[in-house]
Amino acid sequence: MSLIDDSVYCCLDAIIINMGNVLVSSLCMCLVTSVGWAQDEAAVDKFRTPGRIVLESGNQLLSAGSQALRAGAYDEGIRLTHLGLEQSGISAYQRTAALSNLCGAYAAKKAPDAAIEYCSQSLEIDNNNWRAFSNRAYAHWLKGMHTEAASDLEAAAAINPSAGEIEQIRGLINQSTLQPRVNVEDRQ
C-alpha cells in the first residue's frame, strides 16, 4: 500500500487586524484540504504494462482540480473537481476528499454556505475526515456560527489532535468570542 499525497494545497489568507493603534499582521490562514489519492498495489498493477508504469492512477480531473486549487485558482479548481466527480469509478475515498476540497475552495472564496454543504456531503460519506470537519469549522466561523465552528473543531481535533490548522481555526474562534481586558494597578 502506498499513499501519494499529490494534492495538498494551501490557501493563504492574510488578515490584518487593527487592534488599538497597532497593526498586527496576524494570520496566515492555511486552509488545507489535502487529498491523498490512495493507490494500493492492485490498483497500480492495473496500469502496469511491460516496460511502462503509469504513475497517475487516480482521477485525472480530480488531480488537476486539486492542483489548481493548490495554486489558488479556485474557480478552475472547482470546475475541474466538479467534472471529476461526474466521472464513473470514483472511490468513496476519492469522493469524500474531493467534496472536502470543494468545501475548502468555497470557504477560501468566502462562500461559507456552499462550503458547509460540500463538507457535510463529505462527512456523510466518511465522518472520520478531520479536514472536512476543520474546513466546515472555518466555514461556520465565516458565518459567525461560533458554537457550530467550535463543535466541528472539537470533532477534527478528536481525529487529528496534532493538526496545526485546527489550532489556527481555534484561534479565529477565540478571537471572535473572547473580549480582552487589561486591569492595571499601580503599586506605589
Binding site: I17, M19, G20, V22, V24, S26, R170, G171, L172, N174, Q175, S176, T177, L178, Q179, P180, R181, V182, N183, V184, E185, D186, R187, Q188
Partner: protein, 227 residues
C-alpha cells in the same frame, strides 16, 4: 539616564538573568522600600538596612515619620539570592541580587506579595537621622502623569491565554521610569506589551531628594466571553 533606561528595558525585555549579563549588586546599605500584597490594595513603606555583619533592620512608618531601626533577622546571600525574615510577622523575603535594584517576593503562611527598593543615603543608617526624616522626603508620592495601558497580544487572545505581570521600577525625580524588572510574569507572551506600557508611562517629578523611589505596577490580562 537614557542609557540606564535602555539597558534596563533591554534586560527586562529579553529576560536577561544570568550573572554574566546582569549586574550583581550588594544589598548592604540603606534602602527605601515599598511592599505590596496580593489581593490587597494597600501598600506599605519601610526602610531596610542591611549591615555588613549580616543583620537586617527595619524602620517602620508611624504616621508621616519613621520609628527608629529595629532588628528583624539576619540576612544571607547565596547564589545571588538574598533572603531574610521579618521575625515580627513571619514574612519571608527573597531577592535576586542580579536585578538592577533590590527587591523580589515575600510570603507568609497566609499571604504573599512583592517588594522593591531604592538605595538611600547611608547617613540614614543612624537611628537619630532616620527618626527625624519625614516619609515624603524618602518616599515622595507618585502621581501618574502619563499612564499607558498595554494592548492584549493577539496571539494570547487566539490561544485563549489569560495572565498577569508585575513590573517594579525606579522613578527618578524627573518622573521618568527607569530600570524596569519583572517580579512576576505568568507567561512570556505578556512580557513585551507590559514592558512597553510601563516605559511609555511617567509620573510627576519632584524637587530635591531622593534621586529615585521605587514603584510597581500590576497588569491582569483577562478574557471575557462575548455575548
Amino acid at each position: 539616564m537614557v542609557l540606564a533606561a535602555v539597558c534596563g528595558a533591554t534586560q527586562a525585555l529579553f529576560g536577561a538573568n544570568d550573572s554574566t549579563s546582569a549586574e550583581i549588586q550588594s544589598s548592604v546599605g540603606v534602602w527605601g522600600c515599598m511592599l505590596y500584597e496580593h489581593l490587597a490594595s494597600d501598600n506599605e513603606y519601610v526602610l531596610m538596612r542591611f549591615d555588613p555583619v549580616g543583620t537586617t533592620h527595619f524602620a517602620r512608618l508611624s504616621g508621616d515619620e519613621f520609628r527608629g531601626w529595629a532588628p528583624v533577622s539576619g540576612w544571607t546571600a547565596r547564589r545571588n539570592r538574598l533572603s531574610f525574615t521579618d521575625s515580627r510577622i513571619g514574612r519571608e523575603f527573597e531577592a535576586d541580587l542580579r536585578r538592577s535594584s533590590l527587591g523580589g517576593k515575600w510570603k507568609t503562611e497566609t499571604s504573599s506579595g512583592g517588594w522593591w527598593c531604592a538605595r538611600l543615603d547611608n547617613a540614614l543608617a543612624d537611628s537619630q537621622n532616620v527618626e527625624s526624616v519625614n516619609a515624603k522626603d524618602v518616599m515622595p508620592p507618585l502621581i501618574p502623569h502619563a499612564a499607558s495601558t498595554p494592548f492584549y497580544p493577539l496571539r494570547a487572545i487566539r490561544q485563549a491565554k489569560k495572565g498577569h505581570a508585575t513590573i517594579c521600577f525606579l522613578v527618578e525625580s524627573t518622573g521618568v521610569i527607569v530600570e524596569p524588572e519583572f517580579i512576576e510574569l505568568s507567561d512570556e507572551i505578556f512580557r513585551e506589551t507590559t514592558l512597553r506600557a510601563v516605559l511609555a508611562s511617567s509620573y510627576r517629578g519632584w524637587a530635591g531628594e531622593p534621586a529615585a523611589r521605587p514603584g510597581c505596577r500590576t497588569f491582569d490580562f483577562e478574557l471575557d466571553p462575548i455575548g
